[in-house]
Subunit: 153 residues, 8 copies
C-alpha cells in the first residue's frame, strides 16, 4: 500500500486559528499533506494591486486589481489540490469562500465544509456539494487522517 | 451574419423583480435569448426535499435533501448557459449565488455581476471573475443587447 | 423563463414497469422530457452479438460481443443525458446498473437512484453519488417535475 | 527506455487476500508500482461518518455520511491511477466495485477485472469495458509485469 | 421512449460501395441517422490544396496542403459523430483510416470496424479499440438498427 | 450523406469588405453556414464599456471595461464555431486577431488564415497553427465550399 | 531557464534500430528525456493474451486479448508523453502506428513522423497532423535537441 | 503551509533583457520558480526547420517548417505552466506573443501582460484576458513574489 502525498487547500475565514489547528493536528499524526491557502494577511490581500501596480482613484478598480492578483494564487492552488476545505465563520459576507467552493465543485474536487450548525440553512447549497460537513477543525483532521491512512484511530 | 440563440442563467437574489426587468427589457428589443433560472419560490426551494421524499427530523438533512434536488436544476442550467448573470442584494448571506458564480467561472462561462456599489469590496473576488459588473438590470439588458446585436443602441 | 428540453436516461432493472410509470407520470403532466434507456428486452440484450455477428463457442466471448454492442447504445445515451435515473431491484446482481451510475457520476451527470429501503446499506456508495434517492417511480416523477417547472405541485 | 512509476488502484472485494497476492507478486519481481486501494477494514468503512461527525438516527443518513467520506479517498485515488483492477467475489452485492469500474471507465482508465468464470454473464458489461479479465491474482501480476517491463517472463 | 438522431461517420476505403450499402440499408428501415464521411472523390481529395490555394513544386507540400484542408472536414465530422465506422479494404495503405480510428478512440467515440477476416491480425489494435467488428455492411446496418431501435429484427 | 450546418467565425481586420465577400460567395453557392463575427463597428467596440456602464477617467480601465464586454461575444462565438477564419491586414497591430487565433487553436478549432504574402514571415506561428492559409476571400469560399460539399467545383 | 524533463513515446516499426539511434543520439548529448515505447518484441506482443490469460481457439479472440493487454501499455504511455514520434517502414500494414498517431493527435500531443520520402503520399494525412516530418533518426534527435535546449547545434 | 514549485512561461519580445530581470529578481528572493520560454535566439528560431530538415525554395514553407518545430517547444511549455507572462515591445508585429496569450487563456492559465502604457489601447483584448498588467519586469517579480509567498514585501 502506497501513501501518496495529498494536497489540501484551506479556503475561507481568516480571523481565527482554524488553519493552524488543522495543520498542527495532521502534522502531529505525521500525515503526508501539502497545505495550500489564500493570502491570509487581510491588509496585504486588499492592498496588493495598488501597492505593486500603482494606487487607484476608484475603489472598484483598486479592489479589482487586487482581486485578480489574488486569483493567480487562489485558482492555481485550488487546481493543484485534491481536497478543498472551506471554512465559514459568523462574520463578514465571505462570498469569496463560497465562490471557491463553487469553483472547486465544478472542477470535481472533494470538498469539506467547516462551520457552526447555525449556518446550516444558509449554507445548504454549499454543504450539498460537499463530501463532508464538519463543525470543528479536529473533525477535519480526523476525516483527512482517515482518508489517507485508511483506518479510524 | 447569423444570430444564434443565447442562453442566459439568472442566478441569485429572489426578492426583487430584477429578473423580470431583464427579461422584459430584452424581449421588448426582440432579442434571441433563452432564460434559465433557479427555483425562485423561496418556500418550494426550501421544502422540496421533505415534501417529495419525506420529512426529516434533523434540520441538516432536511436542507441537504432539498439543496441536492435544487442542484439538479441549477447545475444542469448553468452548464447549458452561455452567460451567467449573478445578482447580489443587501440581505441574506446569498452564498449560493457566490457558489454559482464560482461554478460558472470554473466552467469558463461569461459572468455578469449585478449589485449596488456598496457591495464592491465584499464582492471583489466575484467581480474579478466577471466580464462585466452592472448596477442596474437595465445595464445588463444593454450588455446583452450589445453582445448579441453587435452594436450600441 | 424558457423551458429547455431535458434528456433523462433510465438505467437498471428491466423486470418491472418502473420506466412506464415514470414516463406516463411525466407525460400526464406534459413535461418536456426525452427518455432514453438501454435495450430492455432481456433476450435481445443477451443475444445481439451472436445473432448479428455470428455465434460463439465460448460463453465469455458470446457475452463480450453482446455487451460491447449494447455499450454503443448505453454510453451514447448516458452522454446525451442531463439526468440519469438508476433503478435497483431485489433480484440479480445488476452490476451494469451500478456501472452506469459510476460512469454517469464521472461525467458529472445528475443521478437519481430508485430502490427499496432494504437496499440502502448495499447501495450507500451509489446513493452517496446521487442527488436524490427515491423509493417509488412517482417520487422520481415529482422530482423531475419540480426541477423542470421550478415549483412544487 | 525509461520505467515510469505506475499507479494501480485495487477496487472491490475485501474478504480474501487477493490484494496481498498481487502486491507481493509484483514486489517479488521488483516492479515500479504504487498501490492504492479503498478502506479495506469493513467496520471502519461503515462507521467512519458516524464516528467522526456524530451518530445518526436514520440508517440512510448514517450510511450516507460514511459513504461520502469514503468517496474522498476512492475518487481521489481512482483519478490518480493508471490502471484500476476490480475484483468481484461470490458474496455480497458489491455494487461499489461496479460503480468504481464505471467511474474509471468514464475517466478512460485501463481496467482489469478479476473474477471466477461463473460470474461471466452477470459481469459482461463490466468485462466489456475492461482491457483484460483475469481469474487469478497471479494473472493480474503477469499482466502488470508484462505491460511495465515490455516482455513476457 | 425517444429516438434521438444519431450521427455516424463512415471512414476509410473509398473504392467499393460499402457506404451506399450501409446508408441504403438503414434508410430502408427508416432509421434516424445523419451520415457523415470524408471526401470520397479520390482526385479531389488529392488535388484540393493545389487547385484552391495554388500548385506546389514539392510533392510533400502539395500533399500537405491538401491533407490539411481535408482535415477541416474530417476532424469536424468525427467530433460531431456518435459512432465511427472504419472500413479497411485489401488495397492501399489506408493509414488515414487507422489514423481516424485512433482519433475517434481518443475522443471516446463508439467505433465499429468493417473488414475481411484475413486482415484480423494486422488490425488487431484497431479492432481492440472498437465496440464491434463486422465483415459486411449489412452487419453494420444490423448493429446500427439494433442500437437505435433497441431490438433485434 | 447529410449536410450538417457549419458555424464559421470571421475574426480580425474590420476595415475592408472581406467578410461580405466570403459570406456573399458562400451564399451564392447556397452553402449551409452560420456566420459569426466580433463587433465590427470600431467605435462601438471601443466605447461599449463606457457607454453602458459609465465613463472612466483612466484610459486603461475605459479600454478594460470595453474589452471584457466584447469578450462575452467573442469567446462565446469562437466556442460555438467549427471553423475560425482569421484575417490580417497591413495596418494596425491586430493583436486581438492573433489572440483569437491562439484561443481557437487551444480549443482545437479548424483555423484558416487570410493575408497577403508579405505578412508570411511575421505570421509564421499563426499560419503554423492553421489548416489553410489563403490570400483572397474567394479562396476561403472555395475551401469552405469544398469541405462542406465534399467536391471541387 | 529551467530544463524540465520531456517524455517521448517512440511508436511504430519494430524491425530496425531507429529507436536505439534516437535514444543513443539524445543521450550522447545528455538531454533530459524519458523514453517510452510499445512492446517491441514482436512475438511477445502477439502472444501476451494467450500466454497470460489462456490460449484461444479463434484467431480473432487470440489477437483481441493480446491487443487489449498491449493497449494498457500503449495508451498509458501516450498519455504520459509530451512528444510522440511515429515511424513508418516499408513493410507491413503498420495500422497500429497510424492509430497511435490519431490517438496522440486527438490528445493534442506534439507528433513527429519518421519515414522515407516514397511514403509521403500514403502518409499525407498523418504528416498533416504532425509538427515535423523527418527522414532519419538523426533528424529526430536534432529536433528534440533543439526544442529542449532552445538552440541549434 | 507548503510552497509548491510554480512554473512560469515567459512569452514574447526577445530583444531586451526583461526575462533576465524577472529571473534574477525572483532568484535574488529565493523563490521556487521554474522558468520556461520560447527559443530566444532569433536566427535559430527562424532557421531551425531549414537547418534540421532541409532548405526550402518557398519562403512560406521555410517559415512553416520552422514555426511548427518551435511549436513543439512553445505549446509543451505553455501547457506545463501555471503562469504565462507575455511581453510586448514597441517593435515588430509580435503576433506570436498575442497568439500565445490566446492559447494560454483558452487553457485557463493565469496571464500577466507586460508593456508600456502607450500600447494599452492596442492590447486591450489581451489585457482584458490577463489577471495583471505590469509596466516593468520588477512589477512582475513583485506579483510573482506575492502570489507565491502570500505576503507583500
Amino acid at each position: 500500500m502506497s501513501n501518496p502525498n495529498w494536497t489540501v487547500y484551506l479556503s475561507g475565514e481568516i480571523h481565527t486559528d482554524w488553519r493552524e489547528r488543522i495543520i498542527n493536528g495532521a502534522e502531529a499524526a505525521d500525515l503526508p499533506f501539502s497545505w495550500l491557502m489564500p493570502v491570509t494577511k487581510h491588509a496585504d490581500s486588499d492592498d496588493c494591486g495598488a501597492v505593486i501596480l500603482g494606487e487607484e482613484q476608484q475603489p472598484f478598480w483598486r479592489d479589482h486589481k487586487g482581486a485578480k492578483i489574488n486569483a493567480i494564487r487562489t485558482r492555481t492552488f485550488i487546481e493543484k489540490s485534491d481536497v478543498v476545505v472551506v471554512r465559514f465563520g459568523d462574520k463578514y459576507k465571505q462570498w469569496n469562500a463560497a465562490f471557491d467552493a463553487g469553483y472547486a465543485a465544478a472542477l470535481g474536487k472533494s470538498i469539506i465544509t467547516l462551520h457552526e450548525p447555525d449556518l446550516t440553512h444558509a449554507l445548504k447549497e454549499v454543504d450539498g456539494a460537499a463530501l463532508a460537513t464538519a463543525q470543528t477543525p479536529e473533525q477535519v483532521v480526523d476525516i483527512l487522517s482517515y482518508v489517507v491512512t485508511g483506518q479510524l484511530k
